[in-house]
Symmetry: C2
Amino acid sequence: MPTDARLDLQFSRAVPLSPEQLWDGWTNPQTLVHWFCPRPWQVVACDIDLRPGGIFRTVMQSPEGHRLPDNVGTFLAVDAPHRLIWTNALGPDFRPQPKAEDDHLGFFFVAELRFTPLPDGQTQYTATVMHQDEAGRDAHAALGFEQGWGMALDQLIALKSTV
Amino acid sequence: MPTDARLDLQFSRAVPLSPEQLWDGWTNPQTLVHWFCPRPWQVVACDIDLRPGGIFRTVMQSPEGHRLPDNVGTFLAVDAPHRLIWTNALGPDFRPQPKAEDDHLGFFFVAELRFTPLPDGQTQYTATVMHQDEAGRDAHAALGFEQGWGMALDQLIALKSTV
C-alpha cells in the first residue's frame, strides 16, 4: 500500500525464514506467544480467529507479573502466506473500538505485514504501520517501535531456527 | 453481527426488490447517485472500488448548490449479493482517517447491509450501523438516521420499479 512518511512507521528486514514460517509466527497463537513480545515481557494470552472481522487479542505481562490491558483488534486482510492486515481501531465483527484516547495505548493503527520471497532464499519481512495523525505516529515511535519489532523478530528467527 | 442497542442504529424493512437489485443500488455508482440521498439533496459524485480496502466516496449537494465535504470510506466485506460492510473510520487501503472530531460528520461508524430473501418473494433490507460511543450514536440519530435511510430506500424502490 502507498506509504506516508508523516503518518507511518515501517520496519523491513531480510530474514532467513520462509513466508510460511513468518505466517505461522503471526497467525498461530501457540507460536505467537513465544516471540511476539520482547523478553523479559511475555504474551500470556492470545486469541486469533483468522478471517476478516475475526478477533486478534494478545495480553502482555511484565517480568514482575503485571498484566497490561488486553490488546484487542481484528483482521482486515488475510492472504496466506504473504500479506496480513490488522487494526486496533476495530474489534471483532468490525465493531468500532472506543476512542483512541480511551485505549491504553492511546492511538489507533492499521498494520500490514508483507512476507516477500527473495532470490537468495530469504524473505523480505516488511511491517507498515499507519496512524491517524502525527501524534499517534510519534507516540508509537516513542514506545520503541523500531527496537521492539526488531527484538521480537529476532526471537521469532531464533525460535524457528531451533525447530 | 451481534448488535448493541447502546451503540448501534438499525433500520430494517421488507422491500419488493431482489437482493441483486439492492446490491446494484449500493454498489453501482450509476445507480447509487439516483437514490442514496433524500431529495432535493443529491449525490453529485461517487467512486466505488468494490473490494475490501477499496474506496467508497460520495459527495452530497444541497438544492442551492452547496457541496458538503467528501464522504470517504472503505469497504470491509463484499459478499455479493447478500452482505456489504463499509466504514468511514478507514479510507482506501485501510488507511486510518483523521480523528472523528475532525471529520465533517463528527463521528465514525461501521455499516453492515444485509439483503435476505423472504418466503413471500420480498427481501429483508437490514442496515446495522455501529458507533464508537453513545455520543456518536446519538449524533447520528439526531441527523435523522431513521427518516433519512427510509426516504432514500423509498427512492431506490421507486427507481427499480420503473426500470
